[in-house]
């Protein structure tokens, strides 16, 4: 029973439920009550055993705690009393309803645990929480941090480790974000209009979470795979309401992102070799790719075709699908991938997309065409510090036989920030280039 219980999920459910009952201005209080419920569990369960329905127990304890905290706040500060009273009244009603249903009048948590009617709160609360955390009035990093804290149940330290940020900086960002939401007095309940207005921001945050987990940046490995898993879980949650909250086109965008994430995640088991060196697509053992993940990705890609819009996620998922269905590297449909990059660069004209497009062009038209395409964008200040730009130049130079240039490029790549598997890969390629150079000299 305790093994089935996921504390991160329960924490998120409690925060979402309490925020629905109390209003988004009490989000901090909801978090505090949820945290206190976990403390109570830690203090009590070793003595009295794990309750029969632990998540119902935690939710009930958190509701009671929220009432205490509300009363404390009202005593301490002369609040906008009508608002505070209303929140207290709503919570009182909920607590009383739980207690009544369990046949006990004193809202005893162990009685609440016997409560059959107390099922976990509906996904709707979590969905609404996600759209609150990703509200466009918040800066992008704040949306990410708040989503991880309230919807994924991450701790401040875990968020800091995932993004290589300082804990106090993350904590501050969260405090500021909650203050902004409070001041804007955002409605918690999600309407179709809210959904439409905030969906782009939600998808952006999910993709960012996924990418942060997927790209092997430095940082805690375990936390990183959690990020990928959470991004996909939240995507599933987003796809669930179907046409109730969103239009066909909005649902199609959600499916496109899910397709992209599943297709990318399928390659995770094959991306790093036994020697902890990053493996390129050409080198990966494709039998390690997760077939069920690919199948789910292709299903979502089908569902994504139901609308009449084309989002960047559609195009990127199309590219990922080209790789996923190629049994061998040599079977890759590069002309189609290059076409898709031509579309993508128009929709998303970023230096990274331009770099990937150049790589696709080199597979279709040869390394010299690829080099020309990369050189055309190499002046971009962002790319100049990106190891993959220099690594790509190095690979293409090797293919054209320019070993000296390749060596210099790999050395330049090693000057850039990268993770350990990436660094080991670059060192390996530099050694290859140097071996070829000295072999050429001996000739």
């Amino acid at each position: 029973m305790i093994d089935d219980l996921n504390f991160q999920r329960v924490f998120a459910q409690i925060v979402a439920t309490l925020t629905r009952i109390l209003g988004s201005r009490h989000l901090s209080l909801a978090e505090e009550a949820a945290q206190d419920a976990l403390v109570k569990a830690l203090q009590l369960w070793p003595h009295q055993g794990v309750p029969a329905n632990p998540s119902a127990w935690l939710i009930q304890v958190a509701k009671n705690r929220a009432l205490d905290l509300l009363r404390r706040d009202q005593r301490l500060v002369e609040l906008d009393t009508s608002n505070g009273d209303r929140a207290t009244a709503r919570l009182n009603q909920e607590v009383a309803a739980c207690a009544a249903a369990s046949g006990s009048s004193d809202a005893d948590p162990s009685a609440a645990a016997r409560l059959r009617s107390e099922t976990p709160p509906p996904d709707d609360d979590e969905l609404a929480m996600m759209f609150l955390a990703c509200h466009p009035i918040l800066p992008r990093e704040a949306r990410v941090a708040l989503t991880l804290k309230t919807v994924c149940g991450f701790g401040v330290g875990e968020i800091a480790r995932a993004f290589l940020a300082r804990e106090d900086a993350v904590a501050q960002r969260l405090v500021r974000a909650k203050r902004q939401l409070r001041e804007a007095d955002v409605d918690f309940d999600l309407t179709a209009a809210d959904y439409a207005e905030r969906l782009d921001s939600v998808l952006d945050v999910l993709y960012l979470l996924f990418n942060e987990g997927y790209t092997a940046h430095a940082g805690d490995r375990l936390v990183r795979s959690d990020l990928c898993r959470e991004a996909i879980r939240l995507g599933d949650l987003l796809a669930a309401p179907g046409t109730r909250l969103c239009t066909t086109n909005e649902a199609a965008a959600v499916h496109a992102l899910l397709a992209l994430m599943h297709l990318q995640a399928a390659r995770l088991p094959a991306r790093v070799g036994d020697d902890q060196v990053l493996l390129r697509l050409a080198e990966q053992d494709r039998s390690l790719w997760d077939e069920s993940s690919i199948a789910r990705g292709l299903q979502h890609l089908d569902a994504a075709a139901s609308g009449d819009t084309l989002t960047v996620y559609h195009v990127e998922a199309g590219i990922a699908a080209c790789h996923a269905v190629a049994a061998r590297y040599d079977d890759t449909d590069w002309p189609r991938i290059a076409d898709l990059y031509d579309s993508l660069i128009v929709m998303k004209p970023t230096p990274i997309v331009a770099l990937n497009r150049a790589i696709a062009l080199s597979r279709v038209h040869g390394p010299r065409a690829g080099l020309a395409a990369v050189e055309a964008i190499a002046d971009d200040p962002l790319l100049a510090r990106y190891y993959l730009l220099h690594a790509t130049l190095g690979e293409l130079a090797l293919e054209t036989g320019d070993r000296d240039r390749a060596g210099n490029s790999f050395r330049a790549a090693l000057e850039c920030e990268c993770s350990d598997p990436e660094r080991r890969f670059l060192e390996k390629r530099l050694r290859t280039a140097e071996r070829l150079i000295s072999a050429a000299r001996r000739l």
């Binding site: 305790i2 991160q8 924490f11 369960w45 003595h47 009295q48 875990e158």
Partner: protein
């Protein structure tokens, strides 16, 4: 077999930095620790004491003075106790050594005295 009280001391701020995942890990370990003691027949009860609400009583000349407390702010107070059976202090300490309470508080181990003249 002699009984030992493991008095669990903690201060009110010890839990602030724990994430839901941390709670999950500690509670799971706690369950395993207690299960193992029970299987070995060494677990002899325990209680969690309610936070915050204590009374301290003292006789002051003729009358008894009751004050609120002890308060958890800042200093460690006893938040609960376990009673375990152990052959010696060494064994009691080794039992307490695996208790997850040490992740966020301290433990005072005291033998329960049973002296028969």
């Amino acid at each position: 077999m002699p009984k030992y009280a493991l008095m669990l001391r903690e201060n009110g701020t010890a839990f602030a930095g724990l994430s839901p995942a941390d709670f999950q890990v500690i509670i799971k370990r706690y369950g395993a620790w207690r299960d193992e003691l029970q299987r070995a027949g060494r677990f002899a009860g325990g209680h969690k004491l309610r936070d915050g609400d204590g009374r301290v009583m003292r006789r002051n000349s003729s009358k008894i003075v009751v004050t609120d407390g002890p308060f958890t702010e800042g200093k460690e107070v006893i938040g609960g106790l376990f009673v375990v059976e152990a052959a010696s202090y060494d064994e009691a300490v080794s039992i307490a050594n695996d208790c997850p309470h040490l992740d966020y508080g301290s433990i005072e181990v005291r033998e329960v005295e049973v002296t028969r003249p």
